[in-house]
Amino acid sequence: MKHLRPLNLKAARIDQSASLLEEDVVALQQQPPKPHIPMGCTLSFSPGWEVDAGGGTAGLCQPVERDIYDCYVTCFWPVQVPDHVNYSPDWAANCAVATKDWRNLDLVFP
């Protein structure tokens, strides 16, 4: 820690755990020193919210739009998208490539 100087053994242990924590959790887009994130990867797994280490979406290994199929087909986030299992088995039938055909995806009203 920078502003608190440990003076006894217990304080030294707290200081040590603070330094471990600093290395453990970092903001993706924090200003220098930046954490190393391989190009193409994201550490944010919220569908539609992925960004790469630069804060953009262009360098990701899959387009964010691809997520919608994971949500749809596997139903892991059925609140956000039509439910493939229960009431909208054909929702994505007209959308072969999401980046090109996304306009064919329609709203559904379960």
Partner: protein, 488 residues
């Protein structure tokens, strides 16, 4: 995301901490941990903003920016203070850490206090074992420990201390040396048993010094047995309470023996333990006599344990005198330490040792945990002060520890069970104070010793300021002190 941050930060206020100044610099003692930190200007500034009021994250950041700190510095200051709980947020609920109600069942013993006799050749008027406030019920029980019981105790200690490389035996009484013959046998037996297990065992004893002989002194020195002498000071003070049954004072008897002991016993520190009573409050004069005239290495003081109704107890005026003189010796302790020298005032040394470690006690002492007392009959008790008291027996060396009784004793004595302690910043070191003192005063070992609270807080603050001053002016001394006490 912005809204999440605001939600998480809530309003900040000062955490549970005790601030103090030393050598013109600010420090904090963090109560939840027993940790000591030096604050830089920024950390101090952040705490000052929260002296009178609670602030939101944004308000505190802005206040620090207004005070000349960069935003990033302000954020970092807050993060660090939050991490150590120097400041806390009202929306982040502290994890509740209830005290363990029971210690681990296999908590290994570290030390036994063997009361090798409950007989004494003196009749000190304030004695907790024989005086008006006694709790011992020795009627019909053995007066002297037998060799069988003593050996059984040694075996019990070695069996019950699994995992510890070194264990300790303290000999106690009564007057310990009235059973020196047994003491010698026990030292030889215990040393041999420990050596056979490739373990170490150390010894100490407490005595009134009236029965010391050249032969005994040579044995104590040879076997590296630590010696604590109970005595109250120069003749006029010693002879006020520490008397024979005839009323005759004991100073003249012990003085030549003490000089021989201190000259002849070179392997361990020889310490004096002074009981302060009404009229025996002249701490500095007592210290000078014991340290400078007689040559004790260390001298420690404690007010007499009593029910609060005895004529020998110290009244509030007496305690003020005692504290004023404690401070005089504490200043001297610091002067010595700044010069790199050890001072013999135990009351400071002990606390500094605990502050170096940052102890945070669940119980005021090791009684019933790593330490037990053994009566002449072999009954186990939380410590020597409960020896022979039927109401506090915790089993017998032949049948082992009564885990139910021990659990009751430790549950009562746990600091979290003492309501008054929950808001006191000195609780990591005090934990409510002596179980025995509490029982004599309040009839419950689990009662906080409320008659000492102000005194304990003031004394702990004094020792913290000594610690702070040393960390600034002579940090090497603290390191050497820790190494010498085996703390690092």
């Amino acid at each position: 995301m912005t809204s999440m941050t605001a939600l998480a930060s809530g309003r900040y206020r000062r955490g549970e901490l005790h601030e103090f100044q030393a050598s013109g610099q600010p420090f904090v003692y963090l109560v939840s941990a027993g940790a000591i930190f030096a604050l830089d200007e920024g950390a101090n500034a952040a705490l000052r903003r929260l002296d009178e009021t609670e602030l939101s994250h944004g308000e505190l950041v802005q206040a620090l920016i207004d005070g000349g700190y960069a935003r990033q510095d302000a954020e970092e200051l807050i993060r660090e203070l939050l991490f150590v709980q120097g400041i806390v947020s009202d929306t982040v609920r502290q994890a509740v850490t209830p005290g363990p109600r029971t210690p681990p069942a296999d908590f290994p013993l570290q030390a036994l206090v063997l009361n090798i006799t409950n007989q004494c050749n003196l009749a000190c008027t304030y004695c907790y074992e024989f005086g008006a406030d006694k709790i011992a019920t020795p009627q019909g029980k053995p007066k002297y420990m037998t060799l069988d019981t003593a050996k059984g105790s040694v075996d019990f200690l070695l069996q019950s201390s699994a995992g510890r490389q070194a264990v300790h035996i303290t000999f106690f009484g009564g007057e310990t040396l009235m059973n020196f013959k047994l003491l010698r046998e026990v030292v030889l037996y215990a040393s041999a048993q420990a050596a056979a297990q490739d373990r170490a065992i150390t010894f100490s004893l407490t005595t009134n010094a009236t029965l010391l002989t050249d032969e005994i002194i040579a044995f104590l020195s040879d076997k590296e047995i630590g010696v604590t002498v109970s005595m109250d000071g120069p003749p006029d003070l010693q002879d006020r309470h520490r008397v024979y049954k005839s009323g005759k004072g004991s100073y003249a008897v012990i003085e030549p023996r003490l000089r021989k002991l201190i000259a002849g016993h070179r392997t361990r520190a020889i310490t004096a333990r002074v009981t302060l009573t009404n009229g025996v409050t002249d701490v500095v004069r007592i210290y000078r006599h014991l340290k400078d005239d007689l040559g004790f290495h260390e001298v420690g003081f404690a007010p007499v344990t009593n029910s609060g109704e005895r004529d020998y107890m110290i009244d509030d005026n007496g305690m003020d005198t005692v504290l004023a003189q404690f401070h005089e010796l504490a200043d001297e302790w610091l002067e010595y330490a700044l010069r790199g020298q050890m001072h013999g005032f135990t009351n400071v040394s002990e606390t500094i040792g605990e502050l170096i470690q940052g102890v945070n006690k669940s119980h005021p002492c090791g009684a019933g945990l790593g330490l037990l007392g053994v009566s002449p009959s072999g009954d186990l008790s939380p410590c020597h002060r409960f020896t022979d008291a039927d109401t506090h027996t915790l089993g017998h060396i032949s049948t082992g520890l009564d885990s139910e009784k021990r659990e009751d004793f430790l549950s009562r004595g746990h600091v979290s069970a003492k309501y008054e302690c929950s808001t006191c910043w000195a609780r990591p070191l005090c934990a409510g104070g002596c179980h025995h003192e509490a029982f004599v005063r309040y009839g419950d070992t689990g009662h906080a010793n409320l008659h000492y609270c102000d005194w304990i807080r003031e004394w702990t603050d004094t020792c913290l300021r000594i610690y702070g001053a040393l960390s600034v002016q002579n940090p090497q001394f603290l390191e050497r002190f820790a190494a010498r006490k085996g703390l690092s």
